[in-house]
Amino acid sequence: MDKVSATPHQDAPLLRPIESPSRNYYIIMGILLAIVLYTGYVYLRQVLFGLGVTGMAQPVTWGFYIINFVFFIGISHAGTLISAILRLSKAEWRRPITRMAEVITAIVLAIGGLHPIIDLGRPDRMSHLFFNGRLQSPLLWDVTSITAYFTASTIYLYIPMIPDIAILRDRGVRPRWLYEFLSWGWQGTERQHKVLDRAMNILMVVVIPIAVSVHTIISYIFAMTVQPGWHSTIFGPYFVVGAIFSGIAAILVLMIVFRKVFRLEGYLKHIHFNYLSILLLIMSLLWFYFTFSEYLTGYYGHEPNEMRVFWYKFSGDFAPYFWAMIICNFFLPVLILCNRKTRTIPGILIASISVIIGMWLERLIIVVPSLANPRLPYPTGIYIPTHTEWMLFIGGVSVFVLGYMTFARFFPVISIWEIEEGRKEGAKTVAERVSSYMPDSGSTSAGE
């Protein structure tokens, strides 16, 4: 193949971070790496001394690790699921968004998937899950579905990246062996495009049910016990809705950051934020509907143990968190997003950050109060996370940023070839599609 190398590319802003990274990039990477290394040390301490270094005790035997597990896996639903739905529904405005969303999934899923291992009292016996695993335990279902989701979503991230990697290869970007290897001999022939399209279509369809299963099964960990506040049939869909909700908020925050840092104003336009934020608004209403149904049925059932957990959340020790969650997940985003005047980029940023905080609080409110109110009269203290748990949370977030920055250093965060395809064929196919929706009157288009 002939090299384009130095010739200015049409989508130069997308290639800039790869071809000429800035100095700030390395400074931030250094800081994050330091945080991650320190977190590693903190975790090593936990392995050496035991889980006693955390704030967990009886009866609150699950704390930050499980909360963050549910939270991170929830965020991971942004990516692949949203991208697959947008692709399947042929939403043309998806083009600059899909890649960014898929990367979130791959990285956050890896981090989230590690959390149950961090939570283990004996991580050295991890292999027991494979050699002595009981498939009747919801924890095993989780291992299975998260592994499947991680596999499917990384493939789904990689396959549409091949033509872009080939662009980098042809421009002679270093390290060349990397792009040479990953581009898999892509030449952009018609046959290759056909195979690529087919592979993407299969993956889209496969990935959606897997994504839905992942958070449903995470909810099953709680719902399959008889504990008050957990044993609820609504938990599966409630968790999935919450996951997509927090995921969209995460994509929006990331898009705003990249737009600013990489100067992608030309690609990520107001319309993209507008559409996604309306989706966020819908999810917020849906989330509220689920929350309302969950607590109202609990309240009317008036089962004494259920009510203890209920009041613990509504007016007891957890009331500040509970009401903060309602404000962060419902009132604030709805107020900001339903008004066109405040649905600006700063407004969307505030709403998204508020949703991310709110959804973290929701995980806290699901995990701790049920454990803190056992059925029998035990003395129960209040759960206070220690330095170790906070550090592992901060470390997890740092790994995410670090991972994303590493990805953005080597690969374009916006799919170049899909933008190109949109420019060339988007308008035409949409026009054809729209005309095929129209009632037949004399002149009929062939359609698809």
């Binding site: 889980l51 009886q58 004996r122 016996r125 009981r134 008889v226 504990q227 029998l376 129960t380």
Partner: protein
């Protein structure tokens, strides 16, 4: 054979002898006061404080609470590695070398009977000499709970076998039942009409903790009658 326990609350004085005997018998770790205040006390047999009624008629009771050894244990259902299981004699057992420490069983137990080794268990020099050689000492990071003193069952069975006879009621008594000064704790085979628990379990005073959950506990309480 279904091993079970009857605790007669009419006879129980709440002295706590069973708690101490259990702790010594099973090498249950003694945690530091600071840890204990956090809620990390390890007790296989605990005394529950139950408040009944309101002020002028307030009644405070202490009732011994071992593991209920449920017929349908919520804990064994969720264990990912079969580190807790119900054996054919109805004892819900723990396999310490198998446990990965996920604490799912603790979260699932409606009676909150399980303890976790948050740190490596340690014994003061004097106490270390009294450790019971029949009960394995646990590592840090595993879950443990009352086993109905299953090691005593093993001993009793061997004794009976060496004497070429059937296992008798007295061959197998857990430490709590043995130590109870008022004889409030009775232990035996719930299916054997010759055992005292069989009759007591059918007493009109018999009741079980959180019976409506359908866990079918094999620890039966005999209500107090005034």
């Amino acid at each position: 054979m279904k091993w079970g326990m009857v605790i007669d609350l009419q006879k129980c004085t709440g002295c706590g002898e069973c708690v101490a005997a259990c702790k010594l018998e099973n090498n249950v770790a003694i945690v530091e006061p600071k840890e204990s205040a956090m809620g990390r006390t390890m007790l296989w047999m605990d005394l529950l404080t139950i408040h009944e009624g309101e002020y002028p008629r307030l009644r405070v009771r202490q009732i011994p609470r071992p593991c209920m050894h449920c017929e349908h244990p919520p804990c064994t259902k969720v264990c990912p590695v079969r580190a807790t299981y119900i054996n054919e004699e109805g004892i819900v057992a723990q396999i310490y070398p198998q446990c990965i420490g996920c604490r799912y069983c603790m979260a699932a137990c409606p009676y909150t009977v399980k303890s976790f080794n948050w740190y490596k268990p340690e014994w003061a020099p004097g106490i270390r000499d009294t450790v019971n050689p029949d009960v394995s000492v646990r590592l840090d990071g595993v879950v443990e709970k009352c086993t109905f003193c299953v090691h005593r069952l093993q001993k009793g069975k061997e004794q009976a076998k060496s004497e070429a006879r059937e296992l008798r009621e007295n061959d197998f008594q857990p430490a709590c039942a043995e130590s109870c000064p008022t004889g409030a704790i009775v232990f035996g085979d719930l299916e054997n009409t010759g055992h005292r628990v069989n009759q007591l379990a059918h007493s009109p005073r018999a009741t079980k903790l959180l019976e409506d959950l359908g866990t079918e506990p094999k620890v039966i309480y005999l209500k107090e009658v005034d």
